[in-house]
Amino acid sequence: MASEKNTIMGWVDRRLPVTENLERHLTKHPVPKKVNFFYLFGALLMVVFMIQVVTGIWLMMFYTNTEEGAFASVEYIMRDVEYGWLMRYMHSTGASAFFFLMYFHMFRGLLYGSYQKPKELVWLFGCFLLFLLMAEGFLGYVLPWGQMSYWAANVILSLFGAIPFIGPDLQVWIQGDFVLSGITLSRFFALHVVVVPLLMIALVVFHIFALHEVGAGNPEGVDIEKYRDKKGMPLDGAPFHPYKTFGALPAIGIFFIVFFAIVFFAPTGGGYFIEKPNFEEANFLKTPEHIAPVWYYAPFYSILRAVTFGIPFLGITSKFLGFIIFAASIAILFVVPWLDRSNVQSIRYKGMYSKIAMILFAASFITLGYLGTKPVNELRTIIAQICTVFYFAPFILMPIYTKYEKTLEVPDRL
């Protein structure tokens, strides 16, 4: 054991088990030796999280969190601060990258059953992280205090106002004012830079510790713990370091090439990463012609808009019902581990219905995303309504089709 050695590390280890935990969670942690590119998104997410934390701290050094100063301080960062533009565009592109990677990471989970017993908690922590990321992104988008910051925040805050009975008071309480104002901006700043990031760090730690307790999955859904060599290392496993660390390096390299290409050449992403009206200061008497969310909220915004009807006899307005369905579209992800009744993990060994369900889900998610960025008309509303049904159907029907469909036999070894 390292802790018996008469070295500085040995001295530390006898007091704080650094080496033991490093080996357990990093260097010697066994991971399946054959996985595909879908398994790289977790590592990339860690990289993006670090980019966001570091650039965020630097932005905070120059940003002013007041109604009068916010927009000007962002201009100041962009024009006067050395490399300020780089910090800001890395942070804004990082937000888009965060969601992009998160969606793929979660879709991997759905495809290969990364939520199945005993990984339920890993999945739950992940879903909480998605929720926190959405909150973090929303709060952060308000901070530059541009037109879209202001009006998009108005749309979201008015959703709280739609809750029966307590809604209007709740909205005023969240805003700290009768309208969205500088008071709201200051508290959103505190939430964005301290509260939500702290919660996210805690959840990332839980997510990873829980994962290391139950072991990482693989695209085949094979349990690698079954066959071990004399030292207890799974035969189909390899130590995380150097096999996965060096395996992830090329992926990180490729990711950086794409990431910085966007940062340098298309930081606004054609209006999808930073919308054009956001280069204009917030004006609460002038609504932009077309309020669209940033691309990563578009699918959920589409679901919100697709609900054009309420339940009058229950006193539920279309706005509140929209809010409920919108919340349900995230909430349903949390219960997936208990909806899947299949005896296999991976989509590769599941039946035809599971495959159709995944295709429907992915297609409707992308279509909803496209529609969410466009102005509404009758046809688009109908398409969005159909896609909303297809978004939910794969989950709602999951207990039925996964139980009765014919699955293939999973091999013993990877």
């Binding site: 009006w151 108005n154 005023v172 309208v179 012609e289 077309h290 279309s318």
Partner: protein, 264 residues
Amino acid sequence: MSKNKQGKKHIHILDGMSLYKRDKSPFYWGYLNVGGEIYKKSLKTRDKREAEKFLFEWKSKLLLDKSLNKLNGNLEMDVLKNPVVNNTRRKALMITSSLMGAVTVAGFAVPFLSAWNPSERAKALGASVKFDLSKLEPGAMAVVEWRRTPIFVVHQTPKALENLPKLNNRVTDPVLSEGVARSTNEKFTVLKGVCTHLSCAPKYHPEIEPKAWDEQWLGGFFCPCHGSKFDLAGRVYKGVPAPTNLEVPPHTFEGDTLIIGELT
């Protein structure tokens, strides 16, 4: 203290504690003086450091035994060896302390949650505003700011007032009880310029002409965000995302002066 009466060499550790060697024994022996009582025994080790350790352990064991005996002698109840647990009492303590804890947390939450309410300054800024109606031409609309909300003040034309009842069938909630122009004044309509769908600002389109969003447009408000339509009295059309009519803010007329907001 380095020598006892037998003259053997003692290694002094602390007062009343020493190690010594005996002939024919390869081990260290321990000597203890605990409160006047002398104890001696072989520590069964050749290593001096280990012997010291054993000596300390032996001493603490003797001290513990002594204090236990003392307790037993003084108290009738053998608390440490056979603790008598009163579960009812423990439960009661548990419940009361949890309740006290919950009350404490709730108490501390009050200032933190209240801090999020509108401050006195925010409340003062939300006070009522005045607007002079004499300069508003018929058919024109003025936007007055109240609580940072655009308030639409419309001077209705006779033609517009004539057209409003024609739309009773096309709007969700005709609110006939509120009067033709939904106002306490026959001529002026006062509305919150905030779409009841998702808080966008509807645009004023008083013209009576076919529009992209309505072939038979008789004038009104159109929300560019999600396509909600309202008539000139702010009544919402059927089949649009907005659920209710444009809100009428609290207002009063004093001659040519319009006061928006509550009178205080």
